[in-house]
Symmetry: C2
Subunit: 229 residues, 2 copies
Amino acid sequence: MANKALLFDVDGTLVDSTYVHVECWWAAFIECGIAVPRVEIHRRIGMDGALLVRELLATFGGDHVDAAGAAGLANQISALHGRYYSADAVRLRPLPGARELLRAGREAGYTVVLATASSPEEFDIARDVLGCDEEVSAVTTGDDVHRAKPDSSVVDLAVRRAGVAPSDAIMIGDATWDAIAAGKAGVPSIAVRTGGIGEAELRGAGYTRIVEGVDVLWREIVASGAIST
Amino acid sequence: MANKALLFDVDGTLVDSTYVHVECWWAAFIECGIAVPRVEIHRRIGMDGALLVRELLATFGGDHVDAAGAAGLANQISALHGRYYSADAVRLRPLPGARELLRAGREAGYTVVLATASSPEEFDIARDVLGCDEEVSAVTTGDDVHRAKPDSSVVDLAVRRAGVAPSDAIMIGDATWDAIAAGKAGVPSIAVRTGGIGEAELRGAGYTRIVEGVDVLWREIVASGAIST
């Protein structure tokens, strides 16, 4: 086959980390005196962390935020989230079929890219959980791009590192942000439901296909002919 | 107005507990050697706890479950969940507008019922978090019924305790199970999105209206004329 690439979001797609992230962000906000309904965090998991904090502070920050203090508070919340998430690393597991899909993709000749914008520290945690370095041709992390999803930078870079045309790549993600970023980059996208986002929301974000999880994804890709092997 | 009742689910509707329950169930399964994708737990939050455990064991239990040992294992997982949830009680907060809605409902002449099937221990935790006993006319807990949602027993009982006809009550919940149970009981239902379940799933379960959370619910009920004041 021609050179084709599978670009994988990591959190919620390959690693069961979405709900852990929700609790860690929640605890970080609480530590700063701000109670945020968890569903509001959940919907923003997978978007740029700085943007997540900014949006939630604007809505729920109340008296805790003034123009001068907002940036410092945002940095503090992000640092706390990072600390709590590292401490909760023992609670992470690969999602069913994640390792098998990476291996099957590589063996079928796809260039496999992990296209995340999480911090290098968080990415190292996910990488340890997956234990699949030998299947992966390239990675991106938050250190590689100025803005994370829904900006297209991560997907643009992943496509370049894969060395393929955008239309020869496919983005696999669990959040609305993955599809929005992929759409801007001209990359088709497939959603998995393992991040807990509803089907209508995923479809509205631009995913062309939606499956339950990566355990059924390989079969679906092949069956659909979305990428021919 | 005629005697009318508001029946409230508690977890995820009035108290921000859904995501805490997910993590506690996850930890209980892991303690027994069984990794369950968190989204599979999330979708079952609010259903009967014994049914939740049975369904997840059947799908993910693998070698851990044989016919003889399943009941004992299920009891062990439920007990662990209860212990972890009690320990995590400090992580619970009322959802925005929950207290205000209970008060507004009572002051407008509605009979306010908390219609949960959680254990008395878990209900006591939620009650402490809410601190709204004076607004509430009646409650149900898991001790009152043999089967929790999606069975209609909880809603049937809540309607009886409210002393109204089913069509003069309205069930307010965040999970698909609340609408299914209410539908069987002949009670109309309104969904809040704070449990993190997608709009299409909520609508498919039979909710007639869907709003973001209880903070906008009172206005919506009055505006819609779903229950006239």
